[in-house]
Amino acid sequence: MLSVPCPWCGPRDETEFRYGGQAHVAYPADPAACSDAEWAGYLFMRDNPKGWFAERWFHSAGCRRWFNAVRHTVTYEFAAVYAPFTQPPGVPS
């Protein structure tokens, strides 16, 4: 049971959240201008690193805010949480 550090509500059990996958995958400004390959990149291609990962979480059973987090996919440790549209703070190496 991960303890997810909601930036608003504090640490809460993982079951209160929805997982949103990789962060910083922006909806193309003009989807119609995308090639099929670019659109496929937006829809399906995702980073899947073994290590630190910038990802999205949604506190659906709490404050209902989306936020980003940097989490390690092996240790599951959270290094930071930060607002959408902002860049991740320094990531541990």
């Binding site: 509500c9 504090g10 209160e16 506190h59 059973a61 709490g62 404050c63 209902r64 805010r65």
Partner: protein
Amino acid sequence: MADLLAQRRSPLAHLAGELAATGFMRELPYLSSYEVRADPAEPAMARLGAALFAGPLLAAAWPTAGRAVGTGPRYALWCGPGWYLVVDEPGTTLESAMAGLPAVDVSAARTVLELTGPFARDVLAHGCAIDLHPRAFGPGSCAQTHLAKAQVILHQTATATYRVFVRASYADYLARWLLDAAVEYVRRIDE
């Protein structure tokens, strides 16, 4: 109006007897409640605060994360950033005070289970993962979280008194769950 009110039926009316038998649980039906979604710094929020709490409730006075303001029967609960639940006595209409704000009347959407007394915290802990110890949660604290498998707003109104706001459709489930969790404590009262 009396005729109208007589037509209401609360989500836990059918379990009133069983709840009363525990000695520490009851439904608080028909509370008025509104979900308000606005930046507390907006002037309309200051006006609303003043109207609700008979004094200017400025941005800084709207409850911060995890807190509620008010001393009863009127409360404002923090639900999320820029999101509050304003709660009042049954039948109170706050529409005019909320004019100009995105405020939605949700009075009938939830009912409230109140737990009070020395076992209240232990009973809740059987299904609630957040820390309800007085060092972490106390009078004036509130949280949206899970209780058993129901999404709730938990509001501690006094030292050993908790209100559980639960959606009307989940109320039967949650009350039955609480009744089951309370069995050992009810016996302790009997004994």
